[in-house]
Symmetry: D3
């Protein structure tokens, strides 16, 4: 099964351990982006994954692509051109000290993408799933247009589409609002990750509970078959509790609450959830198990350095089935 | 507002992570000293801070000064001369294994200081606060004399003086006892950090509670306006609980109890408290908020590698106001 | 007092921190082996310890011996010859993610040992204790034969013998079963570490409780004076609870339950227990204190990177006496 | 253009910098193998490269494949199964101290390969070149048989074949001699890298000069169109001089002598030469330029850490055209 | 003596040792900028140095300022505001492999500077020298205007001005050419570092030799008293030869040719020269010694990691006087 | 053959690579001392070596002893007590930048040694050689007295004694001059390493050439049988030339001149020479080969990080016999 994801990949730079920006003199490198994180995770689960993006045509852009290939994501549809490599600086917190991110992604090679650079017919041929997030249409008109073209092609080819409609208000600098852009993009989706607050803010869709809001979304966007969301209780930067739920228009399926401590790396844990969920939907017949698998995948991601979830199906299954003992495997 | 601190700064050498001295082959470098730690913390809070000390006149002494400047502490009053750079070796523990310190500070350049090397009139001109600790008079007659001269100048100039009367019995090797030396130094102080046990041991001042002992100290040393102390419950090397209290002669103001885990670096957490308290006293009108700010600052310091607290006012305020969720800041 | 241990020592290679095998590009080196770990621990407690093994005759074999000497274990009885250095790769987990080991020890220099290579009369002369584990007879006929010769010599010389009868089914590749080999080896033992499950599986010795199974073992193997075991409750890879018990044919002595978090390194914690117990048996008159000392030693080992326990007697005693506060030692 | 290579890939473990095995406590990881090194180099030159090998089915085997993909080599024909991951330990020398390698590759997953595991028709379909070395037939009968099958398929499909007939006498442990095995393998080759000494030793083919020995080889093996070799003058471990020559049956084309200092990493420099030569033969019309490009590629490899040459065509061309100034590129 | 410099400071990120961008997973941090490098060097020589720039108002901007203070450069005139921190990525070459830089400095906080943000009267009060380079006017109209205002103020206050007229054609993106901008800036200069090629390209000033071109420059820009330049012979990335010359309108003073190998870090070596020259002009009476001191300073910088020259006066003097033996100093 | 050495062992702390003290934030650890370096080197050559010293009774003192044992030097005669661990800080230079050492060894545990702490009869029983240097008598009266007792015991037992009479004027702080102390110590020596300049300065022994001065020394100190010295030509911190000579009262034996570049670590290269020479004298019948072996050992040491020479006999022999090609050993 071939999965396609589309979005920016950034170089992440972070001080060793829990050092602060003002005290470090080296930075560890990872690469990540919310959609590519999903691709990597699905590749670890054994599916074929291809990520579509645009990188600067220099050694660091090549290194970013190498990072994806290393984790078994196909880079054959990646384009190279002008613009910067998007960056973000991550300072990892601990206990009561929060982690901090300084973004430096303006005018990246990805933000400069033009819709005609991606031949979606070729990219999506034979695909079983297409995934996007709300970061992409926030970056530039070109990225939003390119995404819309991708979704429309997916619809034409009968490829299911999932969207994580995450909204970051400090993006959206190119003169359009999410209220203008998001509805058309959402139109073609099979699965949406979002909260009722977001449904209201982005689409004016109102519901007093997750279930009611889900119903309302499905009425507004008839292609949507699933609405999902995660819930996080942040006790400290080192200790969180996490659960997930999925609504299929009839029932709400809820995962267990996972108690997560210590937290090694919180970045990409939402992406790990959606990758787990997609894997479950594509592989199991069972919606409840799919949401549980997604939540367990997300819980495991918190223990893995970097943006991407390197857990295997067998590791996720161990946790999904309730064994969180962490007993040594010889 | 300009704050002046006075005391030895040591090179701290510690194995990576929780390695033991007997297994490591590299040592991370930090610089620290209880008084300079206070200066660095106040500089991060945006105040002008100057530290007064004496370093050996070689590259490592220069590096120590560079470390202070990096964290925005003025080094213009520092003297350079003969003697060693004081050192300490820190092995960081975890769980039930305690951290261990091997001090190697005998005969340091600072211990060789002569009172005439510091022109206190110049140093303290325009200062809003002067801070010292009980380490300094324990190191040498010169250091004790120089400190006394500083306090007397501060008194003459109307600069408030705080003293952390910490007592380490294995220092005090130069032939005088703290009972002989400390009273004259304490005389000129506005604020004292200490416990009733210490008040009894150092000054023979007795009180059955923190409040009563505080009253008795204020009677004995009429310049004292505030008595403060912290209370630490050590559950393990990785988990502590901490609170603070302040007595102003009338009321005892108590902070919340902060639950601290995991602990990244316990060194300098008392200094972080007093820096937070001084900041609060100089900045807020509110004694209760000052002690809460100090305790929150101390709690945050436990998450930061090195001796010095690199937390900002806004970070401390977040915690002081009760948010210990450590939620990612983008 | 001189203690002798016998068994393979492997090079352990592990990614930094909690990185996964698929993401690291460097590996930290330690050396370890269940029996040598006991020797190192006893050497830290101040006893004379000598480890007997066989290494390849190249720089890495020499480095392995150097590692033992560094921690004060005598390498004078070590032989060098053909064969590989046994290896294992350790990926350290956290929270709900388990640690993983990839063994690569087949056909090691140790597995190629011939009984005539070790002159047990010389090695055990003047020894106070001899320790082995069930790993050794599982590796090769030569290793099993050499061990048996050692135990028989110890018996002849009146040296007490302890055996940790750990059973790993994926070893035992040389054509014999543990049921064929273990009884003769167990015959000469004074102290056995094992569970009733193992007693049944290896020797067909049945008992419905630890105590009853212990009685049955002592009946079957009359040299045995002590049966011991540990009990571990794995809450997560970062949080365990551990206790130990010892049966002397009359009474069962139980240690406290140690709450261990965070866990730095779980490898070798069983070896730390048996080293502590042996130290206790050889040094204290008190069986209860011996088992408590062993359990405290094991708890401390969890905080120390590497396979070997570098805790001192005084550190273990602090914990054994109930102080787990981890208070800084200056 | 698609290039196929076949052979073992090992995990290389080396101390930082020029530390000795007996003093290091960490090992840097690279992966390499003489044939895969050629594939990586050609992939950096922009050709499509696929490496065929067999890895153990565990995380380290997966990591090895990830390493190849990172550098843009296709891993789609790789098989996973039982057996170890071959290893080698490299201690890097300097000046008059030689580098040292400890091989630990016996009984690897690759050595256990069976000819029927590789479907050469599929692998070589559409390929422009196939490359092997004398390491592969030395490892096991299975590897030798599998290689022969590959060469015969290449011949059938009209794919040119190059062989580096390197001979390591300490390999060849499976009961056959190179004299028995190599002739049939050499039969199908278009290009051979070797010296007249080797021609004599392996095939009994005698010639008094490179040119005469080349003629004799071509007479014995009529498929051979090119004979090539490099010449290295080792002044020290940090300073070498290198040149190459190519004989096409008529003329000997010689490269410049490259003065190489300092040497960062000497491993894989021969593989870099042959990759450069293959690139030249496939891309340029000019034999002299091809051998010069190969020699320049080899010279550059000496400056790059790891087994594989990460130089680009443009970097090699700069040096090939005579600019060794190393001027900063902004 | 107080020296003022003005220009952008970037975060430099470079792989460890000579690793390539495509293989590293961590980046060492330094900060540097051609003008700030001059300030740091002069501060190491014992002069008072203040750098004027504009940083983003976040932790990395603060870290950049901390870096300058650490090396004793005053940051009191630095402004904080919107915009990015300029970055550059440096891959260090060796031997015949060139170092490579990827700049990522577009739209930095410095490029957004407005002339009214710097109060040049205050900044230059009491200054003995002002230094700028051709990078600054290339970045933005604001930077060019601000620089011009600084030079005019310096002229008004009688502060000598030096300019390194380095020209990078890939900068100058804001719509003006250097030919339009540079003459007015050059007008106010006392000392110019540049070649006759640059004099011709930027100002149309022609001269057939360094001396004649110098004369012509002095005629065109009557404030200029000194013209200087360096000459570099790049034998490889690890071996350069360097000399310098100074023309005072009458005579050309030439330094020795320094043979530099190995090269640790070539960045900032031109800045080290001009810092040495300025130190010489301000301190010695002797032009020949000044140029020799500058060249020796530059030679030493090649041995020091990072952009800035941390050599002391005494180290430079040792080399300037001809002792390049590198004998251990105890 | 058992060799005994006596002297202080210091913890050496050095920044990574060629970083300066003012820029590093970590320090690599080695242990070394001129006499212990000789012991380690001889242990690598396969002789039994025991080092006699006095360490502080804390973890760092224990770590120092562990370092010696790791390299196969017996620590059984080491005493533990009060006092500091001697330290030195080493900044490694390159090219024209010299390495720098900051010593911090005053009042070490070794300097506090009392003659009665070492039972020389036991220590030297069965020894084949005893080695000391001029550092030891310079540290304290106790160290000088203890050394003299050792030499006198060696003389009584017929153990040959070598002395490297290195003179450091900044030591000798305890009130005695080398002219007072050294003659008695030199009296009992068989072999002296020193120059004619030193012979004159320390003993007033004059000779116009190495040979004549050697004759004069042998006349003054009739026990001396060999005089030896090395000659170093420092071209830069990265490039030296080294040779050695030995005078036996009749003939001067001279080694080849070794061209050494690059230099990894210059510390301990003199100690490596004398260790090689002692090995040669004890093992070969041939004085010329002994001095050549010593010089080759010293040359190799320059390539090894740390104070101690980890070269093996076979490595030294390769170089001694003229092969400096550094060809890879597989």
């Amino acid at each position: 099964m071939k999965i396609v994801t589309f979005g920016e990949v950034m170089l992440r730079l972070s001080p060793p351990g829990v050092e602060r920006f003002t005290q470090t003199d080296s930075l560890g490198m990872h690469f990540g982006g919310t959609e590519a994180n999903v691709a990597v995770s699905l590749a670890q689960f054994g599916l074929q994954a291809a990520h579509v993006t645009r990188f600067p045509d220099h050694s660091l852009g090549r290194a970013a692509a190498g990072y994806l290939r290393k984790y078994d994501v196909s880079t054959e549809y990646i384009r190279y051109g002008d613009g910067r490599l998007g960056l973000y600086f991550l300072e990892t917190g601990a206990g009561s000290r929060a982690s901090q991110i300084i973004y430096d992604r303006v005018d990246s090679a990805f933000a400069r993408i033009r819709p005609d650079e991606i031949d979606w017919e070729t990219v999506l041929a034979g695909a079983s799933w297409f995934h996007w997030t709300g970061i992409t249409p926030a970056l530039s008109q070109g990225a939003a247009d390119c995404l819309l073209a991708g979704i429309q092609t997916a619809n034409r080819l009968g490829v299911p589409v999932s969207g994580d409609i995450v909204y970051r208000s400090n993006l959206w600098q190119y003169g359009r609002t999410p209220q203008e852009i998001m509805p058309a993009i959402t139109e073609g989706c099979t699965l949406i990750l979002g909260s009722k607050g977001l449904f209201s803010e982005l689409y004016g869709v109102i519901g007093s509970s997750f279930q009611e809001a889900g119903h309302a979304m499905m009425k507004r966007f008839p292609n949507i078959r699933y609405i999902t969301d995660t819930k996080r209780n942040s006790i400290s930067a080192s200790h969180n509790q996490l659960s997930a739920k999925l609504f299929d228009g009839k029932e709400v399926y809820k995962s267990r609450v996972y108690d997560i401590r210590p937290i090694t790396d919180r970045i990409g844990t939402g992406d790990a959830y959606i990758a787990g969920l997609i894997y479950g939907l594509l592989t199991f017949g069972d919606l409840h198990r799919a949401v549980e698998f997604g939540a367990a995948a997300s819980a495991l991601k918190h223990t893995i350095p970097g943006d991407v979830n390197l857990a295997t199906v067998s590791e996720v299954e161990t946790l999904e089935k309730g064994d969180s003992s962490g007993k040594l495997k010889r």
